[in-house]
């Protein structure tokens, strides 16, 4: 009897298990996000982490293709994503243990749903092997995280959420533009190919600009950091633990994946990133660490860390050899900062609870952002000089534009226009069209005589 070759079967089983495991990492939290399911489980947050934890213990790099998903995508894990996944698992496990989620069938489980949706989004983004899948999961993560941040929160935390929401929308638009530009340049949007292909594309500058802007908005790099101090100052400690580990760290991961680091020499964007990073560090050190309240300190540490990361990315864009030599330390940096910030958040919460530092965020609900303060100062300066072309302009309008639109003359003007259109313009347009027809007929008639 011949010896049976089991190797193909083992490979097939191995492939099926790999696919199942990779899909379960974002899939299980997504499934458990349904209230009907997670309400029946004792620790849904921790159960949802099981596939990710198992995946961490598999040392090999594994990948699967999902051609049926969206525009075609894939999931996988490699040496870079393993670091981020490890940090995500530890962070989520810690938060799942501390975040109080109301239990029982009748309880309002928005928090659990949003928690699990955010987790699914982050896990999927970390495992994504192509730009579209990454963008999809990151979008899910971003919007669900805003919900998690503001759910059951007070006005201060809702304000932080609103500011982050505006930045997030702009970030998504910028990243979508970058995606479209990439898709117009290459058919393969997999990370292994796309970033490299962009180095040869005539749109590389546009792609780099959009990707950098998008991830700067997502991660809160100075001067787009405004939401971070607000969020750290008002979020509950378990949610504050997630601020670095979820939106910021995943944004930094995205920047590493999307930018053609080590493959392209882009001195101007590189220099710009380094400058922004340096100014951010300086700003956070001088204005943040010196003047911020205790509870906001982690935010400024995060701004310093993202500034340092931006400087590293800038160095990598200026000189690819720098990234090739030191790029591997990027995940270690992010994990170490995450660990430090987690200790800081927990420590501050403990100090606050024991009354050793002032409790809470002192500023009022309507605390103005730097942008609002600067615009207000410019307006005051203009008034002082006697320039009153914008009487009554208040800087807060820049943020509360919705109210401006609701109450301004624009609305009345548009309404009047609509009314007029309904009554007259249809008739006028009809008349003009008939007139045009008549003129053209006359012209045609005249031409036939020539």
């Amino acid at each position: 009897m011949g010896k049976i070759n089991y190797e193909p079967r083992i490979h097939a089983v191995n492939d099926i298990l790999s696919a199942f495991l990779l899909i379960s990492v974002p899939g299980l939290p997504l499934l458990l996000a349904f209230p009907a399911l997670h309400r029946r489980l004792p620790w849904p947050g921790l159960i949802a982490l099981l596939p990710a934890t198992i995946l961490l213990f598999i040392s090999a790099d594994i990948f699967i293709e999902l051609p049926w998903m969206l525009l075609g995508g894939g999931l996988g894990i490699d040496s870079v994503s393993r670091w981020w996944l490890a940090m995500a698992v530890v962070t989520w496990a810690a938060v799942a243990a501390f975040l109080h989620v109301p239990g029982g069938r009748g309880a309002c489980n928005r928090l659990a749903t949003l928690f699990l949706l955010t987790m699914a989004g982050q896990m999927g983004a970390i495992l994504a092997t192509d730009m579209v899948s990454f963008f999809t999961f990151m979008t899910l993560m971003g919007y669900a995280f805003i919900g998690l941040l503001v759910a059951d929160g007070d006005e201060r935390v809702r304000r932080a959420g609103r500011v982050y929401l505006v930045l997030l929308i702009f970030a998504d638009i910028a990243l979508l533009e970058a995606l479209l530009v990439a898709a117009a340049s290459t058919n393969d949007l997999g990370f292994a190919v796309a970033a490299g292909a962009m180095t040869l594309s005539p749109f590389s500058v546009l792609y780099l600009s959009m990707a950098i802007a998008g991830f700067a908005l997502k991660t809160g790099v100075w001067p787009l950091h405004v939401w971070l101090p607000l969020a750290y100052g008002s979020a509950r400690p378990p949610v504050a633990l997630l601020l670095w580990g979820v939106p910021v760290a995943t944004g930094l991961f995205g920047a590493v994946r999307w930018l053609p680091l080590g493959e392209i020499t882009a001195p101007i964007p590189g220099m710009l990133l380094q400058a922004v990073g340096a100014v951010g560090i300086l700003y956070a050190t001088l204005f943040g660490l010196m003047r911020a309240q205790w509870i906001q300190l982690p935010a400024y540490v995060a701004i310093i860390a993202t500034g340092m990361f931006a400087m590293g990315l800038g160095a990598g864009l200026r000189d690819p050899s720098v990234w090739n030599q030191y790029g591997d330390s990027a995940p270690v940096f992010v994990v170490l900062v995450g660990l430090g910030l987690a200790i800081m958040v927990v420590g501050l919460a403990w100090l606050e609870a024991s009354g050793r530092i002032p409790s809470g965020f002192r500023k009022t609900a309507g605390a103005a952002l730097w942008l609002e303060r600067w615009v207000a100062a410019v307006v005051r300066w203009g008034c002082w000089l006697g320039i009153s072309i914008l009487p009554g302009l208040r800087a807060l309008w820049l943020v509360k534009w919705g109210r401006l639109w609701k109450t301004s003359v624009w609305q009345r003007a548009f309404n009047a226009g609509e009314h007029f259109l309904q009554r007259w313009v249809f008739a006028i347009t009809l008349f003009l069209l008939l007139g045009m027809t008549f003129v053209v007929l006359l012209l045609l008639d005249a031409m036939s005589f020539l």
Binding site: L70, L71, R110, L180, G402, W405, Q422, V425, T437, V440
Partner: protein, 498 residues
């Protein structure tokens, strides 16, 4: 008569006959009316499925009935017509279920469902129209049978909205008639032909063709709610929610947009239209409509009115896609015909649920409504994110292809429009979600009704949940066989393959 000639007729008649019978039913004959409605829906769905399968495999379904000397009433199934037939038939099914639940205790249900069936008959008829004359006939029929639905409630506001609708659409029909007659005198034919039938015409007629194009677009633009012909649509939102769904997603505005696609591709031909220089102004008009509709939506506190302005904006994506005149943008425009319909119908169903269950009509009344009606608001959330274009929902696929098409056709300015519009979509839809999910609910709702086990009647709850799921599936499985995206790619391959 063979099966291939009978099928187009059967698919039109499958809703016509039940509709006509329903008119004669008494108000109390609820079971008979529901049975007839559902029978018509299911038969039409089955026939549409058979026809879709046949067209995919190259079957030719066509019927010609002599109408005027030299002019036939032609019903023909091609790839483009099947996109619209499937959309309108599929959404008619969910809308019928919804309407049965919505109008449970209302008067004049037989009248309503009679015209409701005639409405889908006209829509399917114009989708299958094989020439401009047939299209015109069903287009006008659609105008006439939707009017009683808009004025169904009989209020002063409804009558005013109906009158405006009639003025606009009959005017639009007159322009269309004028253009059709003129076109016939120039060419002697009105048959829809792949890549158009006008390119061979003498250059001396080109100025006239430009004017005819303007007349056609103006006539069709009324139903597609292109500015400045959009005024009727926000007013018509006084109609019951199923009618709003019909106007915004299934029939009326889609008929206008579909007509514009037909004119550009099967009357003029995209290359000839571009050579006449008419596509760029159309793209600009569509862009202006997109931004204007979104800006106007921002101001509205009335939920249905905000959604109506959103429709004005969103339907113009279809026009923009075909006017950009490239394969990718065309795919984006065509697929948006379906995707916008599914998403917008979800939003209108949800708005109807809020009104029927809690008496909520305004966004300012929606504080914390997500806690009271989580399924409805979850469906609304999916629909809203789809409209914004968030992945992996259906709207993302449309915007993806429109954006790629703009780059492909070297018309990068379209990207700016898409970006601006997406920002505005987020600005007018996300505050609704924020209000519903994160603000504290009031002590009592304006007019709360209880429906037992579920948050509202199951017939009202199931349709938006189904269409929300469809929004997800159409995005996530965009490349599945028979998906709207794959179908749009099939249609486009005909137009652009050398």
């Amino acid at each position: 008569m063979s099966w291939d000639t009978a099928l187009p007729l059967l698919i039109v008649v499958s809703s016509l006959i039940p509709g006509l019978i329903i008119f004669f039913l008494a108000e109390k004959q609820v079971a008979a009316r529901i049975t007839l409605n559902m029978l018509g829906v299911l038969v039409k769905l089955a026939l549409a499925g058979v026809m879709l399968w046949g067209v995919f495999h190259g079957h030719h379904y066509e019927v010609r009935l002599p109408l005027l000397p030299g002019l036939d009433l032609v019903l023909r199934a091609d790839r483009l017509s099947m996109l619209f037939v499937t959309l309108s038939t599929g959404l008619w099914f969910v809308t019928t279920v919804y309407a049965i639940g919505y109008l449970e205790d209302s008067p004049h249900r037989s009248r309503f469902f009679g015209f409701f069936s005639l409405c889908v008959t006209a829509t399917v008829g114009l989708a299958l129209a094989g020439n401009l004359l047939t299209f015109l006939l069903f287009y006008e029929l659609l105008t006439l049978v939707t009017y009683p639905l808009i004025v169904h409630r009989g209020t002063e506001a409804a009558r005013l909205a109906g009158r405006n609708y009639l003025i606009y659409t009959v005017g639009g029909g007159a322009l269309l008639l004028l253009a059709t007659v003129w076109l016939y005198t120039l060419t002697g034919t009105l048959e829809f032909t792949a890549r158009g039938f006008l390119s061979g015409l003498d250059a001396v007629h080109h100025p006239a063709l430009v004017v005819i194009f303007v007349l056609l677009i103006a006539g069709l633009g009324v139903k597609a709610a292109l500015i400045p012909f959009h005024g009727w649509l926000p007013q018509a939102m006084v109609a019951p929610a199923p009618v709003s769904a019909l106007l915004h997603a299934v029939a009326v505005v889609k008929a206008g947009a579909f007509g514009i696609v037909r004119v550009i591709y099967d009357v003029y031909g995209v290359e000839f239209a571009a050579s006449l220089g008419v596509t760029l102004p159309l793209a600009i008009l569509a862009s202006v409509t997109i931004i204007y509709g979104s800006l106007r939506a921002l101001f509205q506190d009335d939920l249905k009115r905000r959604l109506a302005f959103s429709t004005i904006s969103q339907v113009s994506y279809i026009v923009l896609g075909v006017a950009v005149a490239g394969p990718m943008a065309t795919i984006g425009g065509l697929v948006h015909l379906v995707h916008q319909g599914v998403q917008k119908i979800t939003l209108f169903f949800c708005a109807g649920n809020l009104a029927e269950t809690l008496g909520i009509h305004k966004i300012s009344e929606m504080n914390g409504v997500g806690r009271r009606m989580p399924w409805t608001m979850a469906a609304f959330t999916v629909g809203a994110f789809g409209m914004i274009g968030a992945p992996p929902l259906a709207g993302f696929i449309s915007k993806w292809y429109l954006g790629l098409g703009a780059l492909d056709a070297d018309q990068s300015w379209v990207l700016i429009i898409l970006v601006g519009s997406s920002l505005l979509n987020a600005a007018y839809l996300l505050p609704i979600l924020y209000t519903a999910w994160f603000k504290a609910p009031p002590a009592s709702w304006p007019a709360e009704r209880f429906f037992g086990r579920y948050e509202t009647a199951w017939a009202l709850l199931a349709p938006p949940v189904v269409t929300a799921l469809l929004t997800l599936v159409l995005g996530l499985l965009a490349f599945a066989p028979f998906s709207p995206l794959e179908w749009a790619r099939l249609i486009t391959s005909r137009e652009f393959t050398p």
